[in-house]
Amino acid sequence: MLNREDFEIFKTGLIYFDNAATTQKPKQVVNEIVDYYTKYTANAHRGDYDISLKVDEKYEGVRNKVKEFINASKTSEIIFTKGSTESFNMIVFGFMAHYLKKDDEVILTKSEHASNILPWINLSEKVGFKIIYLDLKEDNSFSIENLKQKINKNTKVVSIAHITNSIGDVRPIEEIGNICKENNILFVLDATQSIGHIKVDVLKYNIDFLGFSAHKMLGPTGVGVLYGKEELLNKLVPLEYGGGMNIMFSSDGKYELKELPFRLESGTRNIAGVIGLGAAVDYLNKIGIDKIHEYEISLKKYLLDKIKKVPNIKIYNENLDSGLLLFNVKNYFSQDVAIFLNNYKICIRAGNHCAKMLQEVICSTNTCRVSLYFYNTKEEIDILIEALMNQDKILDTLV
């Protein structure tokens, strides 16, 4: 257990195992947001008065924090968005729509999140490029061999998650990044599930574009990041036009846009959200991302050891190295198990976890998902195990 006292919500006895959906927020993040709303509310990049200048300083300060956090080269490569979904839509419809041609190929896998599949399907209908779904290994993890086999002269993009939200496999992104670089392929990384859990380093892993959401790394909802190499972001055509992103416009139809990053941030941004994201980055840095990962893995091992002793449990991702466990209780529907666990104040997710194609790969369409974070404890896992030992009571609370 790390820094649990910073999370007010746990004083209620809540056991929160749905961290892949969103994480809880420490008081340091909440306080930063409250400070903005109570002590220096003003718009960014506008005023000549003190509190507006303070907003600029804070907002642009976060850009620098994020740059350092993911090891980007320049702050202009960090664009604040509404979240991963917007980041991916910008990559696909703002850049790829002008880059990909009819016979090109884009490599994805069937375990990607909807936000890294649906934009591609939609664009391919218009442009005619081909989406290649890479076959997964027997344990549903990523196969470097299959990637090497599928690459050909038409392959232009590989777009995958660092860690999948559906299975929890950690992809070998350093190797994938190298392969992409050697073959002149753009490497797009969905870091939504990995950010805040393991180190993300865009330079080391040769990442061309990357997206993530603040709310999965202790930050607020409604804010996220798009990273892109500067030369690529310069070619990204804005999907939104308006205030904050232009230098001039006139009635003869002339207009001029600002430089990066501002030309991709139209309108008043989610300033409070960005400031909250900055506090989340500070918080994670203070604990240390390696320490978080190490703790999560030790907790997952504890969970695995215990849950394997519970009768009638089928585990779907035993050997994958993240804090995510998928299971079912034999003869019970996943949602009935989740609702039963709610009686113990245990929050887990039931369903197909927004990766609807994966049911074509794993035999079960619906599973229970436990996703751990650094504030979870062995004691909480013991309560989960005790509840699962009472599995004959799962349907007792139907009415």
């Binding site: 009935d336 039931a350 619906n366 009415v399």
Partner: protein, 140 residues
């Protein structure tokens, strides 16, 4: 009816559902419904003859409440006129949504009269009705 009896009927309809399995017959109209939390997934198939539900079946992958409610629904609607069916559906939805309703028309569907106590279950209990409403054209 006491809670235990209600639970037993629900469990029985979950473990041994009536009218389960789709007919593979083009004279039936089929409609699939899924709930927003992407879990329950139910298809209802009904054969309508002369403004009457001559037969109704269902299939799918869903929780105990959704599966059992689909089973009980098919039993209650089979053989009913469309007008009677609409009345049952309307009163059932009113019951689940805690609005005044006529329990006399609901038959065995009355076992779901306490589902409202578990808000997360309401959408499960309502899902089969979404399909049948589309089939009989009562989804305006």
């Amino acid at each position: 009816m006491d809670v235990k009896m209600k639970r037993d009927i629900i469990l029985d309809n979950y473990q041994n559902p009536a009218n389960k399995g789709l007919p593979n017959d083009s004279t039936y109209i089929e409609v699939n419904s899924r709930n927003e939390s992407c879990v329950d997934n139910i298809t209802v198939a009904a054969k309508l003859v002369n403004d009457k539900i001559e037969d109704v079946k269902f299939d799918g992958d869903a929780c105990a409440i959704c599966t059992s409610a689909s089973s009980v629904m098919t039993k209650e609607l089979k053989g009913k006129s469309l007008e009677e069916a609409e009345k049952i559906i309307d009163n059932y939805e009113r019951m689940i949504n805690e609005l005044p309703y006529d329990e006399d028309v609901l038959g065995e569907l009355n076992i779901y009269n306490e589902v409202y106590k578990q808000p997360s279950r309401k959408k499960c209990a309502l899902l089969p009705m979404d399909s049948i409403k589309k089939i009989i054209g009562d989804d305006e």
